[in-house]
């Protein structure tokens, strides 16, 4: 059975992201938004509810009088009409048809009516055929026939009639009331009176609510029966939509053709075509509301600003502290990585020192021999011999230089630098550090590279560290004479896997899931327990994954999968 552990990207792995400004800006925005919502939404709701209630109260205060005025106005108008209709009824009961046919008598009646009630302009008596048989008033209308007029038929059917307002001969608005009565001789006649609208105008005008209000009468066709402040003079069409029938004072909200929003109270006057309408612009309603709203808005604004100031200040403080802590942690992690790298280098130290010592020893001996030949021989040594020795010295010095160069290049502190890297070359460089150890311990290192291994865009120093950590572990795991196989394989598109397999002691199953944990070590006292944890962190940071398979006694295989990244042109 083979144990396998594979670890995917972990969020804390990306140190660069951790310290990036954008992340903290997002964090701050999230904090500000969430706390603001919790703090401000209830405030808004409460203010809204209060404002709504207050608005309702204000509304009642404005609409109450409107409805009351409409009811009273309707009452007055109804009385006005009733009075006049009753007066006509009394006349036709008190006077006979014969008397009323007499124009002089009719004139007296008109004078009485004017004195008693006012508003009467003229009187006329019309016989069954629709001919005005007598007339009292300012015009010469005696003998005129009304048989073709609608009103004449209506009064015939209903017994009494109130007309729409119309402009009479004097070009003054009037309306007509008429009443039907039996002549006592089997036929009927109609007493008709023209009523001046002055009284009605005054009455209706007085109902208009202070300032911007309006009050007027409409007939059934929505024609103005009295002058309107808003919609013009008598007999103009009123632009409001028709009002539903109601003899009770009703309140509706409506708007006229210009879109002006209005509150209307209206009532139909019974036994007449008239509807009393009282209007108040909504802005009237708002006048009181506006000043209140201003207060509420100022209060709300200050509250919201204060809350936001506290929330933003608080969030900024907290996020900044978090950022500082993260930066410290990142710095610490960076330092830890560096320490691990240095430790890895330290472990290579012996081998490297040996490697340097060998050419150094050669230099010493060759130079010494050169001196010996000059000092100890009696004759000058041959030229070829000297050049051979000097060349040896130079070659060995080069070897030393190469080793120190490689070590220094590796030990450099790692600023993240992206470059195109040939993994095969890099792996061979890393193995170069362990070449001597491999030779002395007879460890066989095999490379299984494809013809053209894919290049990756990554950080050279960090990849060196990753592979050095893993290869060091492999060297520690194998016996002398063991085998290590290093392979490169392209996996899918945009990824390449480097596998480092050994035939060493293997990792027990119970340890396998912990090997990437910090401070976990099986090398009792010999390791920091940070190597693989740091390896894991670096691979995450480079956008890759690291996995391990192992079986005790058979060996271990680490696989590092790296994104190939965008190759440089």
């Amino acid at each position: 059975m083979t144990n396998e552990v594979s670890l995917g990207p972990a969020p804390e792995g990306d140190q660069d992201l951790l310290v990036s400004q954008r992340r903290y800006r997002k964090m701050r925005i999230a904090a500000v938004l969430s706390v603001s919502i919790v703090a401000i939404v209830p405030l808004l709701i409460m203010t809204g509810v209060n404002a709504y209630q207050y608005q309702q109260a204000l509304r009642t205060e404005v609409t109450g009088p409107l409805v009351r005025f409409a009811a009273n106005g309707k009452q007055s108008l109804e009385s006005f009409l009733s009075e006049r209709l009753s007066a006509l009824a009394m006349v036709v009961r008190e006077r006979s048809y014969e008397e009323l046919r007499d124009s002089r008598q009719l004139n007296r009646v008109l004078v009485n009516l004017r004195q008693a009630f006012g508003g009467f302009v003229d009187l006329g008596v019309i016989d069954e055929q629709g001919v005005q048989v007598s007339y009292a008033g300012p015009y010469e209308l005696e003998g005129r026939s009304y048989s073709d007029y609608n009103w004449f038929h209506e009064v015939g059917v209903r017994g009494l009639y109130v007309s729409d307002v119309f402009m009479g001969y004097r070009n003054i608005p009037h309306f007509v009331i008429a009443i039907r009565q039996s002549t006592g001789a089997g036929s009927e006649f109609v007493l008709r009176a023209t009523i001046d609208t002055d009284v009605i105008n005054t009455l209706v005008g007085s109902l208009a609510v202070h300032g911007s209000g309006d009050a007027f009468l409409l007939n059934r066709e929505n024609i103005l029966q009295t002058a309107s402040r808003l919609y013009g003079d008598v007999l103009q069409r009123c632009p409001l939509p028709p009002f539903p029938y109601s003899t009770q004072a009703e309140l509706i909200e409506t708007e006229d053709e210009s879109g002006e929003s209005l509150i209307a109270s209206y009532a139909q006057i019974p036994r007449s075509p008239f509807t009393l309408v009282l209007l108040s612009p909504r802005s009237e309603l708002h006048a009181g509301w506006l000043s209140l709203r201003q207060d509420v808005l100022i209060f709300l604004g200050i509250s919201v600003l204060l809350t936001l100031a506290v929330v933003i200040g608080g969030s900024t403080y907290v996020v900044n502290r978090a950022r500082e802590a993260d930066l410290k942690r990142a710095a610490l992690y960076h330092k830890m990585e560096y320490t691990n790298k240095m430790a890895a280098i330290g472990r290579l130290g012996a081998g490297v020192a040996h490697e340097i010592n060998n050419p150094l020893a050669i230099i010493t001996e060759k130079a010494g021999l050169l001196k010996d030949l000059v000092m100890l021989s009696e004759e000058m040594p041959p030229r070829d011999k000297l050049i051979g020795l000097v060349n040896s010295v130079l070659k060995s010095a080069d070897r030393c230089g190469g080793i120190t160069h490689r070590l220094l290049g590796f030990a450099k502190h790692m600023e993240v630098q992206r470059e195109t890297i040939d993994l095969d070359v890099l792996l061979q460089e890393v193995l170069g550090f362990l070449e001597k150890e491999a030779v002395y311990r007879d460890i066989h290192v095999d490379f299984a590279f494809p013809e053209e291994p894919p290049a990756v865009v990554s950080d050279r120093g960090q990849l060196q560290q990753v592979f050095l950590n893993i290869v060091n572990n492999a060297f520690a795991a194998v016996e002398d004479g063991g085998h290590i196989q290093i392979g490169i394989q392209e996996v899918g598109k945009g990824a390449v896997a480097v596998s480092i397999a050994d035939d060493g002691v293997g990792i027990p199953e119970e340890s396998l899931s912990h090997i990437f944990d910090p401070f976990f070590t099986t090398k009792k006292g010999a390791g920091t327990g940070l190597g693989l944890s740091i390896t894991y962190g670096i691979v995450q940071k480079l956008g890759g994954q690291v996995s391990v398979e192992s079986k005790v006694g058979e060996g271990t295989c680490f696989t590092v999968t790296l994104p190939t990244g965008q190759a440089f042109p």
């Binding site: 010592n357 060998n358 150094l360 020893a361 050669i362 001996e365």
Partner: protein, 129 residues
Amino acid sequence: MEAEALRILIVDDEEELVSAVEERLNLRGFQAHGVTTGTAALEYLADKPCDVVLLDVKMPGLGGLEVIKRIKEEHPGLEVILLTGHGSAQDADRGMQLGAFDYVMKPVKIDVLVRLLLSAAERKDKGDV
């Protein structure tokens, strides 16, 4: 001493080092011979007389410690001076336990080496007596 030059066997995997040391010792009146593997050293010692062996500890194949063990078994009277790299004190200690006369760290000053070889030879002579 002039009459009988000391016979020295130099064993190191670096051929160039071996040849230089060999020549320098010869210039100083020793009779030095160099080989580059432990196996070659043991073969050489099997049929050639020798006074002191200068032996590198770290060599591929047969390592210095294995070689000294075998020398002490096969030629108990032979003195061995170990050549060690920097930081392999453990190997040197191990070598001393196995009966090395002394050890020197590379690179070696020739005077120091000559002195050591002489004292090693002296002890061998005493041992012989």
